[in-house]
C-alpha cells in the first residue's frame, strides 16, 4: 500500500500509477540535461496524476495546456498548466522532504501566455509513489503576500499561508473574475526576430545548464512568450542542432530543394491523389513538394504547391493530407498560417478522414510559419518566399 501511515483522509494524497511512473521515467530520458531529466520526471508524475484525479472527481473538463511544449519545456522550467473552462491552474511540484515553501518560477507568473489564475503546491514522493497537493494560492495572493527571490527568479510563499482545503477551489473558481484572482504582470521586453534568433543560438545548447538565469528576465520571458521561439529553443537544446532553418521557397522555382522535401510523385502513390497532384503540377511553372511529418505513431503529408505570378508574387497552396496507404490522418488536425510575429493569418481544421487546403499569395522575401497540431503535438515549419 502506497499510502504512508502519516496520511490523513482529509489530506489531498494521490497515488501514482506504476505503469505511468515507468513510462514517465523512460520519456524523461530524452531530455538533454540531468536536471531537465529529473525535472521532467517529477513534472510528468505530477501532471498525469493530478489531471486524472481532478477529471475523475472534481473538474471533468480539466485538460493539460501547452501540451505541445512538453516534455522539452521541462529542460528549462519547473511546472505545468491545467486549463478548465477559462481558468488556468499551474501545478508546481517539489521533491523536497520539508514542504516549507511554495516556490513558483517567474515564468508562470509574469509571462502573459503562461500566467495562471491559481497555483497548486504539489509534493511529489516518487519513492513512495504518492503525491500530495498541499494547497493553493491565487496569482494575486502569491504576488501580494509572497516575496520575489531575484536570485532564482521565483515567487515564494510559506506553505502555512496556502489555502489547504481544495474543496474551496472547486466551489469558487467559477465565481471570480480574472481581476479578483490576478494582478499586474511584470512588463517584458519586445524582441525583434534577429534578437530572438541570437538568444536561441546562445541558450539553445545543453551545455548551458541554467538558461533561465542567463539573460534578463524581460528578455527570457519575451522569448518564451512566443510559441514558435520557445519551441525552437527547446528543440535546439534537445537535438544539439539548430532548429531547421526556414525553407526557401523561391529556390524551388530554380529547382533547388531542401532535404526532407520530396517530389510529390514519390509520395502520393494512391491514384486519386496522384491525379490531383498531376493536374496541379501540369500548370505552367508550378512546383510541388511534400514533407512527411511524424505525430506520435502516425504521420501526415504537408504538400506545398508554388507558382510564380509576375515578378514579385507567388501563389502558394498548401495541403495537409493522409499519407500513402493510411487513408486517414493520425487524428483531428489543425493548421495555422502565422506571420513571424506569430499573428494568425489563416486557420483550418480537419477530422481524421479529411484533408486541409489553404491558398494564399505572398511577396518574395516574405516569411511565414505553418503550425500543424495533431494529437496534442505541434510541429512548426518556417518558410521564406
Amino acid at each position: 500500500m502506497a499510502f504512508t501511515p502519516y496520511t490523513e483522509p482529509t489530506d489531498w494524497h494521490l497515488e501514482i500509477d506504476p505503469a505511468m511512473q515507468a513510462l514517465a521515467w523512460q520519456q524523461s530520458r530524452s531530455l538533454p540535461t540531468l536536471w531537465g531529466q529529473w525535472n521532467a520526471y517529477l513534472n510528468q508524475l505530477c501532471l498525469e496524476t493530478c489531471l486524472q484525479e481532478l477529471r475523475h472527481d472534481y473538474l471533468p473538463d480539466a485538460h493539460s495546456e501547452m501540451r505541445g511544449d512538453l516534455p522539452q519545456l521541462w529542460d528549462g522550467v519547473n511546472g505545468s498548466l491545467i486549463g478548465v473552462d477559462n481558468v488556468r491552474l499551474a501545478l508546481i511540484p517539489t521533491d523536497a522532504i520539508d514542504h516549507s515553501e511554495l516556490v513558483v518560477p517567474q515564468e508562470w507568473v509574469d509571462i502573459p501566455s503562461w500566467v495562471a489564475d491559481y497555483y497548486l503546491a504539489v509534493q511529489v514522493d516518487s519513492d513512495q509513489a504518492v503525491i500530495r497537493i498541499a494547497g493553493y494560492v491565487t496569482h494575486r495572493q502569491l504576488k501580494e503576500r509572497g516575496y520575489y527571490d531575484s536570485s532564482d527568479r521565483t515567487y515564494c510563499l510559506e506553505t502555512d499561508r496556502l489555502t489547504t482545503d481544495l474543496n474551496a477551489l472547486w466551489l469558487s473558481y467559477a465565481h471570480y473574475t480574472a481581476d479578483q484572482v490576478k494582478t499586474v504582470l511584470m512588463p517584458l521586453a519586445t524582441l525583434s526576430t534577429p534578437q530572438a534568433d541570437q538568444l536561441i543560438q546562445r541558450l539553445g545548447t545543453a551545455n548551458e545548464l541554467m538558461p533561465r538565469l542567463e539573460v534578463p528576465f524581460s528578455m527570457w520571458g519575451a522569448l518564451l512568450d512566443n510559441p514558435a521561439w520557445r519551441r525552437r529553443l527547446f528543440q535546439q537544446r534537445q537535438t544539439g542542432n539548430p532548429a531547421p532553418l526556414a525553407t526557401r521557397l523561391s529556390n524551388w522555382l530554380q529547382g533547388q530543394f531542401e532535404a526532407g522535401w520530396q517530389s510529390a510523385t514519390d509520395w502520393f502513390a494512391s491514384p486519386p491523389v496522384a491525379a490531383a497532384m498531376r493536374s496541379a503540377a501540369s500548370q505552367e511553372n508550378q512546383v510541388c513538394r511534400v514533407k512527411h511529418l511524424r505525430f506520435g505513431e502516425g504521420q501526415l503529408g504537408l504538400m506545398i504547391s508554388l507558382a510564380a505570378i509576375g515578378d514579385t508574387e507567388v501563389r502558394i497552396e498548401l495541403q495537409v493530407r493522409p499519407t500513402e496507404g493510411t487513408g486517414s490522418l493520425p487524428g483531428a488536425t489543425e493548421v495555422k498560417l502565422l506571420t513571424v510575429e506569430n499573428r494568425v493569418i489563416g486557420q483550418a481544421s480537419a477530422t481524421i478522414t479529411e484533408t486541409i487546403q489553404l491558398q494564399f499569395r505572398a511577396n518574395y522575401q516574405e516569411r511565414f510559419l505553418i503550425e500543424i497540431t495533431c494529437n496534442q503535438e505541434t510541429i512548426t515549419e518556417r518558410f521564406t518566399v
Binding site: W25, A96, I97, D98, S126, R140, C156, N167, A168
Partner: protein, 405 residues
Amino acid sequence: MRPREQILDLFSTFGQVEVDHFCQWISDPKLRRSMQRCLLEQGATDSEKVWSLYWYKNWQNQNQGLAALHLTAYLQEPCYWVAQKIWRQFNKTEYTLADYLQIASAEVPRVLKGFNVDRGNNLKSFATLLLTNVLKDNLRQRQSADICSEWALLRKVSKKRVVEAMQQVGLTPPEIEELRFAWVCFGTLYVPNQPVLNQTSGGERSAQPGAQLWVAITELYNNKRHGQAIGGLDWTADQMTTRLAKLARWIRAYLYPAIDSLNQAKSGQDTSELQDDLTDPTALSLLDVAIQQEETDQRLIQRSHLQTVLQQALEQLDASSQELLILFYQQGLSQQALAAHFRTSQPTVSRRLKKAEECLLSALIQWSQEQLNKFSTPDELTDITLMLKEWLIVQYANTPAHPRP
C-alpha cells in the same frame, strides 16, 4: 490529565509526561512571577480568552520570548492532545508520548505565526488543527531524512530550510549567498539515476558524487557566479566538497535535531536565562485587549449563526457520511482504520470524507454569500475553510476543555 483552571496556572505551568503517561503540572518560577505581576498590575480578570489575547497581542508587538513562553504554557493542553493522538496512532515508532509533547511544544511559534486573531477564532482549536498537521509532517520528514545519505538530503531540502540552516550557524550574508549558489549548482548536476529508491541496495539511488562530478559542479559555480553577482574567489573542487558536506551536516542538525536535545527554551524549561525583570514598558494594557475582545464578541454572535447553518447542513448529510465524520473527528480513527470499518479502500474513504466536507463548506459559502450579498473574496474563502475545520474539531472533540456546544 486534569486540565488547569486558574489563570495563574494556565500561563505559567507546563505538562510533565513520563514515557507514556501524564504526571503533573510543573510551575515555571519565572513565568509564575511574571504572571503574578501582571495580574496585580493589570487587574484580575479571570477570562482565559482575554489573557491569551493579551499575550498574543504582546507577542505580535514585540515578538518577544516572554509572551511566546506564556503562550506555550497556555497551549499545553492542545499540545498534549495532539501528542497523545499521534502517539496512539503511531505507537510503533521509536518516539514516546513525552517526545511528541516536546515536538508539539517546540512548534508553538508556528501556531502563533499562523493564527489570525481578526478571524475571531479560538487559539486552542487553531493550535490543535495546525499542530496535528505539523507533527505528522515532522514525523514524515524525519522518516525520509533518516534514510537519506548526506548528499541525498542536501538535494531534498527546500531553499528556505537551507538558508535557515546557514543563518542558524551564523554565516554572514555574503557567505550565505556563496554557499546557497554552490548548493544550486550541486542540485543542477547531482540528480537520482533511478526512478525509485532502490530498497535492496540500502536506500541509495544516486551514486556518491565522484571526483568528476565535483569538478563539474565547481566549474559551473566558477563560471556562473559572476552572472549571479556572487562575490569571493573561485572555488576548488576540494573546497566545494568540504563546504557542501558541512552544509549537509548543518541542515540535518537544524532540521532534525535529536528529540532529546530539542531546544529546551522553546518548551519553556530554562527560562532562567531570561532577565529577572520581566516588566515591559511597551506592553499593551489588558484594558486595550479587553476592548478588542468585545469587538471579537460581535463576531462570536455571527459565529453562532454560522454554527446553526453548519448544524443544519450536517444533519442533511446521509447517515454514513455523518458516521464517517464522527469516527474521524471524534474517535480519531486513522485512514486505515476507517477503510477497514467501512470495508472499502483508503482512497475511497478519503474521497467520501472530502465530499462530506465539501457539502458543509458549500453551505457555509452560501450562507456567507447571503450575509454579504456577494460571493466571498479568495481571502475570505480561506478564512471560511479554516472556520469549518475548527468547527469540526470543536464540534466533535470529546475532551473536557473542548465541550460540545
